[in-house]
């Protein structure tokens, strides 16, 4: 059974843990400019926004392996595509929930609202549903090879929607998110000290995705091995 390069995995895992610890320290200890209404919640930039970057990275990893599955028909590619999609949905849900909490205490302060159909929110929710449908599709097909192929084709279509739903379309509409019509973009308004934490946070969360994803792939490959499936991986 072909598995993961373990020394390589352990090295990156440890690096990610140390890196994320530093990100957390930086996120809370560095002074940031205070802006009315936002106040300290501006620090959520380091946590809420990387969720979406991580989801995008996960969907790209997933689509890459789906393409490779269609090309080579290796079952390991199907396993990798599925596990990356599981993490894409997980980070997507975390992004939605954290965004909702943040908005409730800033945009919607003084109201009972948690959700007001901001274009970016709505499209992000649609994006998570598109990836949710990937698992519904998988569970509907019993034959392993057929399931892998059909799911891979769907996954390649799903990745095409990602840049539009998360990036292009929300910027065409009026939204409270930065970069939208009528709002300055991230690059125009973000203080250098916040970039110092934000970019490492994006890298750190993507690293965290990679660690969790690799763990899942290891478990899934072992599972297939125990079941006597695809020993020729």
């Amino acid at each position: 059974m072909k598995t993961i390069n373990l020394p390589h995995y352990r090295l990156i895992r440890t690096a990610v843990f140390v890196w994320m610890t530093l990100v957390l320290l930086g996120a809370f200890l560095l002074q940031i400019p205070r802006i009315n209404i936002l106040e300290h919640t501006a620090r959520n930039l380091y946590f809420h926004v990387p969720m979406w970057f991580t989801m995008m990275a996960a969907t790209f990893v997933s689509a890459y392996h789906s393409l490779q599955y269609l090309r080579t028909n290796q079952p390991v590619r199907d396993v990798r595509a599925r596990e990356a999609a599981v993490l894409a949905v997980t980070f997507g849900i975390l992004g939605l929930v954290t965004g909702s909490v943040w908005a409730h205490y800033t945009w919607y302060q003084g109201t009972d609202l948690w959700w007001n159909f901001d274009p970016k929110q709505s499209m992000a929710a649609v994006q998570v549903l598109i990836y949710g449908a990937y698992f519904v599709l998988r569970s509907a097909i019993d034959d392993l090879e057929k399931r892998g192929r059909i799911a891979a084709v769907y996954n390649v279509f799903a990745i095409v929607t990602v840049p539009f739903l998360l990036y292009v379309l929300p910027r065409q509409m009026e939204s409270l998110h930065p970069g939208a019509e009528g709002n300055p973009a991230f690059s125009d308004i973000t203080h250098p000290i916040m970039r110092l934490v934000f970019y490492p946070a994006v890298i750190g969360f993507i690293g965290l995705f990679w660690v969790l994803y690799t763990q899942r792939v290891r478990a899934a490959l072992l599972h297939r091995h125990v079941d006597g499936l695809y020993d020729e991986l």
Binding site: H40, N44, F47
Partner: protein, 82 residues
Amino acid sequence: MLSILQQATPDTTQAATAYDSVWTNPELPTQAASGLEAVMLSQDKLYVVLAVVLIIWFGLLFFVLRTDRKLDRLERKIADEN
């Protein structure tokens, strides 16, 4: 004909926006918040950041525990076979 229609359906587009283009509540509330709201808004809203970090922490913990359960099942299966 057109004027009748217009009378029948008054223009309400000013009253509502199709989606989130304006701050829901441009005036900050004058009365003090209470309960959970008051806690979350205290310390310049630092607890909102705590809430967000905890959501991510518990979300990832939940994920790790699921992977853990998967490994447990595998271990039991291997133990049964031997």
